[in-house]
Symmetry: C2
Subunit: 182 residues, 2 copies
DNA sequence: AACGATACGGAATCACGAACCCGTTTGTGG
DNA sequence: CCACAAACGGGTTCGTGATTCCGTATCGTT
């Protein structure tokens, strides 16, 4: 691959990462091209459609997040790791409209990330959930689907947090719903 | 007003109610016109823009919901009324993409309902919350903003409920986060 | 340094959906 | 029953944004 092509591809990905993070999946392709310092045609030489570019960006962000999840799982006690990841994921999603959308639509219909990433996501969160449950930190009737749904709910709550300067408070309240009663 | 005009206006409102409920604010105006058995021009003679029609529909649905809230507040104990309304609102939102959007965007930026409706909404939910708090059924640190955010979160959770045939379960879990600890 | 092969920019094209217009139809007061 | 204002429908216009095209510029190889 020619050097300039590689450079432009990287620039487009970086710009798309920024723009989609700010504006979500409906960002305009021209905005991305402009921010990358490139013409629209160049974007299309590297990605077949805007959708493909978007999916690529989301998949990358998700993979980054899962890397961090793996690190947490390795370093901390199961319960701790699970809830730490929860907070991390919500925090990240709140700063990134693309990721936010990905959680909200979750195993949804549009903007599907590659199966490979989806599978890793399920495996990782599933593993942490299972471990936390085994450690008695999470109610035994909580399924992986419950966790996905409530994670999305946490993101919603946190994004709606109006005039509250205590980030993580609502997320914590929702996450606490997973813990066993007294 | 001519009789046919009144009839068509009602038809358009009914059709818009259905279509927006199914498809949310991005439904196509022609779909609505078609479902109402009317031309696009007729829709525009009664409502200046698609947005105005949408707002009208949402405001009506919200007002209906608030009527039911008032009834609950009158008939039941404060705590009971508050949580019953919570479940009702989530249930209604899940069946209605327009209402769902309205809760999600809440005191948001787009599709603003008339101040009159917004105010009534704040007053009603605020009153029920206050009463529930006074009855000791809701933690004293929960603000109205918290309630809005967590209500939106409940809707998200419930909509994501995948392969779980127990409607209201996740909503209940989120709502329980409002209750005082033991 | 010269020559393909690649890649580039951005103007032109296409698609879609909101909003407008106007010739035709319909309701209704006299 | 009539005349005419009000209302109708749907074809037309307009704007927006994704995608394509192609003449030009650049890279890397001989």
């Amino acid at each position: 691959m020619r050097a300039d092509a590689a450079r432009n591809r990287a620039r487009v990905l970086a710009a798309a990462g920024d723009v989609f993070a700010e504006q979500g999946p409906n960002a305009q392709l021209l905005d991305i091209a402009r921010r990358a310092g490139v013409g629209a045609g160049t974007v299309y030489r590297h990605f077949p459609t805007k959708e493909a570019l978007y999916v690529q960006v989301v998949a990358t962000r998700l993979a980054d997040l899962l890397d961090r999840a793996d690190a947490l799982a390795a370093e901390r006690e199961p319960a701790d790791a699970f809830f730490a990841f929860w907070g991390l994921a919500v925090d990240e999603a709140c700063r990134n409209a693309a990721l936010c959308e990905a959680f909200a639509s979750a195993t949804g219909e549009e903007h599907r990330v590659p199966d490979e990433v989806e599978t890793r996501y399920r495996r990782t969160l599933g593993g942490m959930l299972e471990a936390a449950r085994a450690a008695g930190a999470v109610r035994s009737d909580i399924t992986l689907a419950d966790a996905f749904a409530l994670l999305a709910a946490s993101v919603t709550a946190e994004m709606r947090r109006a005039g509250d300067d205590r980030p993580g408070r609502l997320t914590g309240m929702v996450a606490d719903a997973l813990r066993p009663g007294v």
